[in-house]
C-alpha cells in the first residue's frame, strides 16, 4: 500500500471535538445518544468540507439523509476557498453489502476508495466518520469478534493515506461486551468529552 503524505498547513489541520488529531489517526468515539453524535460529526465534517477535505460518512440511511441535508451548504464552493466533497455510504454499500458483515471485504473496499480518492490528489486530506449504531441489533459473539478484528486492521489502512478515521459507538446501544474489546483495538479513544491515548491497544 503506497504511502501518501499531506502537505502541512492550516488546510491539513484536523481536529475532533476541538482536539487536534493527525492524519493516519484511528479514533474510537464513545458517545451517548444521537444528539451528542450529531454535535460531534457535524463540525468534524463541516470543517473538513470548508477546508476542501474529502469527507466520507458511513451511517444508517435515515441518519445519512439528515446529514446530507445539513452539510449541503458547506459542500458548495465559498468565495475563492476550496470546496470539499461529501460522500455518504450506508451499511448496505459496504459493511453489509452481501447482507452479512465481512471485515476483509470492507477493508478492501475502503482501500480501493482511498486509492481512488487520492489518485492525483497529492496534498489532499480525507475525513471519515463511521457511526456504527446500525450494528446494535446484529451484536452476537461471532459478529463482535469479526467487528473487533476489522477495527484492529483499520489503523494500518488509515495510516497509508493522509486520512483520519473515527469509529463512533453509542454507549446507549452497546454494552461492556463490545466496549472492552473496542478500547483494546483503538489507539485513541474519545470518551466523556476527552480524547485519551491508549498505548496498550492491540493490532490485528
Amino acid at each position: 500500500m503506497a504511502q501518501h503524505t499531506a502537505a502541512t498547513g492550516p488546510e491539513t489541520a484536523v481536529s475532533w471535538d476541538g482536539t487536534p488529531v493527525a492524519p493516519g489517526d484511528h479514533l474510537c468515539a464513545l458517545y451517548r445518544g444521537p444528539a451528542e453524535r450529531d454535535e460531534l460529526i457535524r463540525p468534524f465534517l463541516s470543517d473538513g468540507l470548508r477546508a476542501g477535505h474529502i469527507c466520507l460518512l458511513l451511517a444508517a440511511p435515515d441518519d445519512a439523509a439528515s446529514f446530507r441535508e445539513t452539510l449541503a451548504g458547506d459542500e458548495a464552493p465559498s468565495g475563492d476557498g476550496p470546496s470539499g466533497r461529501l460522500q455518504i455510504q450506508v451499511p448496505q454499500d459496504g459493511y453489509l453489502e452481501d447482507g452479512a458483515f465481512d471485515g476483509d471485504r470492507m477493508l478492501r473496499q475502503m482501500a480501493d476508495w482511498s486509492a481512488e480518492m487520492f489518485r492525483g490528489c497529492d496534498g489532499a486530506v480525507a475525513r471519515l466518520a463511521a457511526d456504527m449504531s446500525w450494528a446494535g441489533p446484529l451484536l452476537r459473539p461471532a459478529f463482535t469478534r469479526g467487528l473487533i478484528r476489522y477495527e484492529m486492521r483499520v489503523a494500518p489502512w488509515l495510516r497509508s493515506y493522509p486520512q483520519v478515521g473515527v469509529c463512533m459507538y453509542d454507549l446507549d446501544v452497546f454494552g461492556g461486551d463490545l466496549i472492552i474489546p473496542l478500547v483494546k483495538a483503538h489507539a485513541k479513544i474519545w470518551v466523556g468529552g476527552r480524547l485519551v491515548e491508549n498505548p496498550y491497544h492491540l493490532v490485528g
Binding site: 454494552g175 461492556g176 491497544h201 490485528g204
Partner: protein
C-alpha cells in the same frame, strides 16, 4: 487475534501480559464510562456485560445493595436459585455461590456505601478461572463499586440540591406572600393615614370624600341616609343629583348594613355609614367599568367607618347644642345672672348683648314636637332673625335679637306648618338677660290676649296691648268683659242691630282728645255726621260724655274693646 503493542507502547515479551495490560486499560476506560452514569442499574448492567469480554467468566447477577432485587445481564437473565439467601450468608465478604450448571461461582462484594455495606457482582465459569482472570473481575468490581458510590453521592447531591431548590422555592413563595402582605399592609396603612388626616383636618364629609377620591382615583359621593348629596369629590359631578326612591333607598342601605359590605348598584359601589346599628349616611364610589377591587372595597369600608364617626359627631354636636340652647332659654326664662347668661349664649353662638324680645308660638292643632320646633327655627331663620329657640310645654319660645316682626313670623309659620290655627305673642324690649323673665311673661300675656280675642289666630305684641297691659294674666277675664258690657253694651247691641259704627266713633273721639275735626277726619265722615253720631251715642248709652267719670270709664272700655276685638 494477535496481541502486539500499538503506537508508542513498550514492547512486551509476553502475549498474555500484553492482553492483560490491554484489559486493565480498557477497564480504566470503562470506569470513566461507569463514573459518568447516574443510574445504579445502568452501572451494574455495564459491569455485567463487560465480564465476558475480560475472560472466561460470565456475569450472573448484580446487586447494588444487599436485600434489593438483583439485576441480571439481560431480560432473560439466567437467575440463580436462592441467590439472596446465599449472599446474605456471606455477610458482605467475598465467597462462593452455587450456580446451576457451572462448576465455579463467586460473589464479589461491591463496597460502595459509607458504612462498608453494599452489594455483589455474581460471576460464574464452567471451570475455575486463572488468577489473572479473577484479578480482572476484582478490578471490575472495585471500579463498579466506585461508580456506584459516585452515583450515590451524585444522587445525594441531587436530592440535596432538590431540597435546597424546594426550600428556595418555598422561601421565594413565602417572600412573595410576605411582599404581598407588606404591600397590602402598606396600602392599608396609607388608607388609615389618609382617612385619619382627613378626619383630623376637620374637613368634615367633604374632606372624607376628597380622601377617598385621592385613594381610589374615582369620583366619590357622600349622601345622607335619604340619598341627598352631602359632598362630591372628583370629576363628573352631576349638575342635578338624582333623588332615589325613598323606600328602595332605605331597603338598599339596610341590606348593605346587614351584609357589612359594599353593594353594587349599577355603576356605583355603595357602602353605608352606620353608627350603633343606625344608618347615618352612605359613601358611593363611582365605578362605571366595575374595575374596583379589594383595595377599593377596603378604602370604602374604612372610609365608611370614618364617615360614621364624623356623622355621629355632627349629630351629637347638634344635639348638645340644641340641649344647651334649651337649657339656656329655660334658665333665661326662670332667671339667671347676666354674666353667666352672656357666656353660655356665646358658647352656643348667640350674642345676648343688646335689645332682645321674646316670642312664644302656639298652634292649636300641633303639639310642640321636634317638627314644630324645627319649623319655628326655619321660620325665624327665614326672616333673618337671630334667635335661641326652645321648647316649653305646648309652645315654642324664641329669644330674638332685635324686635321680631310678629305678623311676618306668623305668616312664615303658617307656610311652614300649612295651618293658620296658631298665635304668636311678642314681648316688649329687654336690654339685659335679667329682663327676660319679665319679657317671657309679656309674651305669654300677648299670646293669651290674642288667643282670647275675637280673631285668635295671628300675632300680638305686648307693646300694643295698651291699657290691657295693666291687666295681668291673673285677672278675671269675664269681669273685664262685664266692665266692657256695662259701659259699651247698648252701643255694641245698637251697632250689631243697625250695622252702625257708634262704638268705633266713640273710641276714635276719645283717641282724638274730643277734637271734632280730627275725629271726623280720622273716620272719614263729615263734622255734622259726627255731631249726629255723638248725640245718638249719648242717647243709646245713656251716658253724659261731659261727665268726667263717664268719660274715663267709656274711654277705658273702648280701649279694652279694641284689644279684645283684635282691632289693635
Amino acid at each position: 487475534m494477535t496481541a502486539t503493542p500499538g503506537g508508542s507502547a513498550p514492547s512486551r515479551p509476553d502475549t498474555w501480559g500484553r492482553e492483560h495490560v490491554a484489559n486493565l486499560y480498557s477497564l480504566s476506560v470503562l470506569s470513566m464510562i461507569m463514573n459518568a452514569r447516574e443510574d445504579e442499574e445502568e452501572i451494574l448492567r455495564l459491569a455485567m456485560t463487560s465480564v465476558g469480554a475480560l475472560g472466561p467468566c460470565r456475569a450472573e447477577a448484580g446487586v447494588a445493595v444487599l436485600g434489593e432485587a438483583p439485576v441480571y445481564p439481560s431480560p432473560d437473565g439466567h437467575g440463580v436459585d436462592g441467590l439472596a439467601d446465599q449472599l446474605r450468608l456471606l455477610c458482605g465478604r467475598e465467597g462462593q455461590v452455587r450456580v446451576p450448571g457451572r462448576e465455579w461461582g463467586r460473589a464479589v462484594p461491591l463496597q460502595h456505601t459509607r458504612g462498608g455495606a453494599g452489594g455483589y457482582l455474581v460471576v460464574s465459569a464452567t471451570a475455575p478461572p486463572g488468577d489473572g482472570d479473577v484479578f480482572l473481575i476484582h478490578v471490575l468490581a472495585q471500579q463498579t463499586a466506585a461508580a456506584l458510590a459516585l452515583a450515590g453521592a451524585r444522587r445525594l447531591d441531587r436530592d440535596r440540591a432538590r431540597e435546597l431548590r424546594q426550600l428556595n422555592e418555598d422561601r421565594a413563595a413565602v417572600n412573595t406572600r410576605l411582599a404581598t402582605s407588606v404591600a397590602t399592609l402598606e396600602h392599608q396603612r396609607s388608607v388609615h393615614e389618609v382617612l385619619a388626616q382627613a378626619a383630623a383636618a376637620g374637613g368634615g364629609v367633604a374632606g372624607i370624600a376628597t380622601a377617598v377620591h385621592r385613594l381610589t382615583s374615582r369620583p366619590v359621593a357622600v349622601e345622607d341616609r335619604f340619598g341627598n348629596l352631602r359632598a362630591w369629590a372628583g370629576p363628573e359631578r352631576p349638575t342635578r343629583y338624582p333623588k332615589p326612591d325613598a323606600t328602595r333607598h332605605e331597603e338598599l342601605l339596610q341590606e348593605a348594613a346587614r351584609r357589612a359590605h359594599p353593594v353594587r348598584v349599577g355603576k356605583r359601589l355603595i357602602a353605608p355609614a352606620t353608627h350603633r346599628g343606625e344608618v347615618l349616611g352612605a359613601l358611593a364610589l363611582i365605578d362605571p367599568d366595575g374595575s374596583a377591587g379589594d383595595d377599593e372595597v377596603f378604602v370604602l369600608d374604612h372610609a365608611c367607618a370614618t364617615l360614621a364617626v364624623e356623622l355621629a359627631h355632627v349629630r351629637s354636636l347638634a344635639e348638645v347644642e340644641l340641649r344647651l340652647r334649651r337649657e339656656l332659654v329655660d334658665d333665661l326664662i326662670t332667671g339667671t345672672d347676666d354674666e353667666s347668661a352672656y357666656a353660655r349664649a356665646a358658647a352656643v353662638g348667640h350674642d345676648l348683648h343688646g335689645a332682645h324680645h321674646l316670642a312664644v308660638a302656639q298652634w292649636s292643632d300641633r303639639v310642640a314636637d321636634d317638627t314644630f320646633m324645627q319649623a319655628v327655627g326655619r321660620a325665624a331663620a327665614g326672616l333673618r332673625t337671630r334667635s335661641l329657640v326652645a321648647r316649653r310645654p305646648g309652645m315654642a319660645v324664641l329669644v330674638c335679637e332685635g324686635p321680631p316682626r310678629g305678623n311676618a313670623l306668623y305668616q312664615a309659620l303658617v307656610r311652614e306648618l300649612g295651618s293658620p290655627d296658631g298665635a304668636i305673642g311678642v314681648s316688649g324690649r329687654c336690654d339685659t338677660p335679667g329682663g327676660i323673665p319679665r319679657a317671657h311673661r309679656e309674651a305669654l300675656r300677648a299670646l293669651e290676649v290674642r288667643r282670647r280675642s275675637r280673631t285668635p289666630h295671628g300675632a300680638t305684641t305686648f307693646d300694643d296691648l295698651g291699657l290691657y297691659r295693666l291687666l295681668g294674666p291673673g285677672s278675671d277675664h269675664r269681669e273685664i268683659q262685664r266692665f266692657v258690657r256695662v259701659w259699651l253694651g247698648p252701643l255694641l247691641d245698637y251697632d250689631a242691630a243697625h250695622h252702625a259704627d257708634l262704638t268705633q266713633t266713640l273710641s276714635q273721639y276719645f283717641e282724638c282728645g274730643g277734637n271734632y275735626d280730627a275725629t271726623a277726619a280720622a273716620l272719614g265722615i263729615h263734622r255734622s255726621t259726627l255731631r249726629y253720631r255723638l248725640r245718638r251715642i249719648r242717647d243709646v248709652s245713656g251716658s253724659d260724655l261731659a261727665n268726667v267719670d263717664n268719660r274715663l270709664n267709656l274711654h277705658v272700655a273702648t280701649r279694652v274693646w279694641k284689644v279684645l276685638d283684635g282691632a289693635s
